[in-house]
Amino acid sequence: MSDSAAISGGLPGGAGVVPIRRDPHHVGHHAAGEGETRAPGRGIGGPAPKRIVVAYGFWIFLLSDIVMFSAFFAAFAVLRGGTAGGPTGAELFDITNVAIETVLLLVSSFACGVATLALNARRPLVFQAAMAVTFLFGAGFLALELREFADLIARDAGPSRSAFLSAFFTVVGCHGLHVTAGLLWLLTMMAQVFAKGFRPDILRRVMCFSLFWHALDIVWVAVFTVVYLMGSAA
């Protein structure tokens, strides 16, 4: 069967469904055309399912978000010594507080994973409970971070004190803003699953949220390593 025959046979929209070959030279396939996958997103399989397109797009967004964070990390690493005669990281940082924050966010990320499992198993009660745990631990993290910021500002170590503190508040505050937005998104997802059930569009939103929440935990690993642990060692 030649390619032109396949196309002319497929065009009139007749009863005989003949797949149009987009790969006339069968690159990577057998000569007879066998072995071509009909899987979605591949060759004759048609476009990928919406669930994969949405999640992949959000994955690209998260990676660009991480690139933005890396610029803030670079600024902090460069400006770390610029204390302008003010307090240094070793004098300011409370490492025990950071360790508690880390564990809170990690458990929150774990609970978010349990929530997606419950979502896939279509268990609304387990889902709501796991999301509530995710929220509580995330809110605990945020409360500790805000307390730390208030404490620093009260000790005259606010963002305007030195280049080091400007960079510190930028990178940690930006992560904190992401967590705040994530908490609001989390409550929205709980409400939408409660009100609308396990609809495909709601499932996609929850999946994007869980990606976001796990990515925030990955960024936090870089925060506590580069900012707190390496920043207080200098």
Binding site: P40, A48, Y56, S64, A233
Partner: protein, 155 residues
């Protein structure tokens, strides 16, 4: 969770999988195992990071290297056990996007630190009482109290 409509079963292996998605055949229990392993490993690596930062028994210049190693390891644990990234063909797109992101992050972060470090060491302004840099070749910045050889420049 792609819904393949009665196609060949091996097509599942050629299809994509969404980032962060578990395989559809995983039940609640088997899926939970991955998260529990990830949580345990992440807690272990976190504890190692904080211990290394506090301890006095480690050689000081090795501490940043150890911290970076633990951090990268923990990010890997998050990606594998929480985001379910694999090296399988259904994950190729996700891995390629991630690899590009990592490339940009390393160029941005590493490049900034590298360039600014050299700027700081090479373009430091002469500080009084600090490093003495002759403004003109052979002419000392400050008169030297006792020059045994009577030479001009000091290097």
């Amino acid at each position: 969770m792609s819904h393949t409509q009665g196609s060949a079963p091996d097509d599942r292996a050629h299809a994509d999988i969404a980032p962060g998605d578990e395989y559809a055949h995983e039940e609640f229990g088997t899926g939970l195992r991955s998260y529990v392993i990830g949580l345990a490993l992440a807690l272990l690596l976190t504890a190692a990071s904080f211990w290394v930062a506090q301890t006095r028994i480690m050689w000081a210049p090795a501490i940043p290297v150890a911290l970076l190693t633990f951090a990268i390891a923990q990010m890997g644990v998050h990606l594998v056990f929480f985001l379910h990234l694999t090296s399988g063909p259904d994950n190729t797109n996700n891995i390629m996007a991630l690899a590009f992101g990592v490339l940009i992050v390393f160029l941005l972060f590493g490049g900034s630190v590298w360039i600014m470090h050299h700027m700081n060491t090479n373009m430091m302004a002469p500080i009084e009482g600090g490093v003495q840099m002759p403004l003109q070749k052979g002419v000392p910045l400050q008169p030297q109290p006792a020059m045994p050889h009577g030479g001009g420049g000091h290097h």
